[in-house]
């Protein structure tokens, strides 16, 4: 199966709402071995001027990869997930993600480039609150390995 070149320029509208919970921030922070008190202790976060616990800098990957799943699971995309390798990742935070946020992600396919028998696909998730406030922009490139790659 080959990657559909018409994916470039495609968008997937924001689907489900992601509710950012305190325990999820704590769980994710432990999983990346973060120890900063602003991830665990509400009073420590407030002392830094935040309204609640602060998510670690890569927490947005949870929301972004849910958005990516729409593309990967799209039968029209031609992507075999077992052949996907993560090539690069970027997070641009317009403001930090804080416990209590209700987030949505709109996915954009910014680039599709043939590489050998496979393809490099660049996607961008625009993460906003349900009220439309911009929170994070994440970009990700995945390499879908062709046969023998």
């Amino acid at each position: 199966m080959t990657i559909n070149p018409d994916l470039q320029g495609r968008s997937y509208p924001a689907a489900e709402v992601y509710d950012v919970g305190r325990e999820k921030i704590r769980e994710f922070a432990r999983a990346v071995k973060a120890t900063h008190p602003a991830h665990f202790d509400v009073e420590a976060a407030k002392a830094l001027g935040h309204s609640d616990l602060v998510a670690p800098p890569t927490f947005a990957i949870i929301v972004a990869q849910r958005a990516d799943a729409q593309l990967i699971e799209d039968p029209d995309s031609g992507i075999d997930f077992s052949r996907v390798v993560h090539a690069d990742q970027r997070f641009t935070h317009h403001r930090p993600i804080i416990a209590g946020d209700q987030l949505r992600a709109e996915l954009h396919v910014d680039g599709v480039r043939a590489m050998g028998g496979g393809a490099m696909i660049t996607t961008r998730s625009e993460i906003t609150t349900v009220d439309g406030e911009r929170v994070s922009t994440t970009t990700s490139s995945i390499l879908v390995r062709g046969e023998g790659q």
Binding site: V54, P57, T58, F81
Partner: protein, 145 residues
Amino acid sequence: MSLKLEELTVGQEIGTRSIEVTRQDLVKYAGASGDFNPIHWNESFATGVELPGVIAHGMFTMGSAVQLVSDWAGDPAAVVDYQTRFTKPVLVADTTGSSEPGAVIEVAGVVGALDAEAGTARIDLTVTFAGQKVLMKSQAVVKLA
């Protein structure tokens, strides 16, 4: 925040950190992130897709490396931009049942650039495993003002 842009210089070291990783850590990261790709927890699946063994999630390495920057900045929310390329896998040996780590990732950070107008410092991270760089162009931008 106690850091001041005018007191920083390009090339200045911000510190180092060693991250010990076990197979259990990868299972924890899989659960926390929702990325259950079996190459990160199942040996026979990983070798079946031509990997040398179970490898860490690239996002585990990226996510754990930035803690050096969060701690240096004094507030994780100060990290306004963070990017990397994934160049080499981190192979995690199965040490279940012992107290030994399955891999050790080394992280070092230096001030890579200063932007007085934006009030930001760019921290360049060097992230290595078994003597080889596993992340490239790993850069975190910290808002100081």
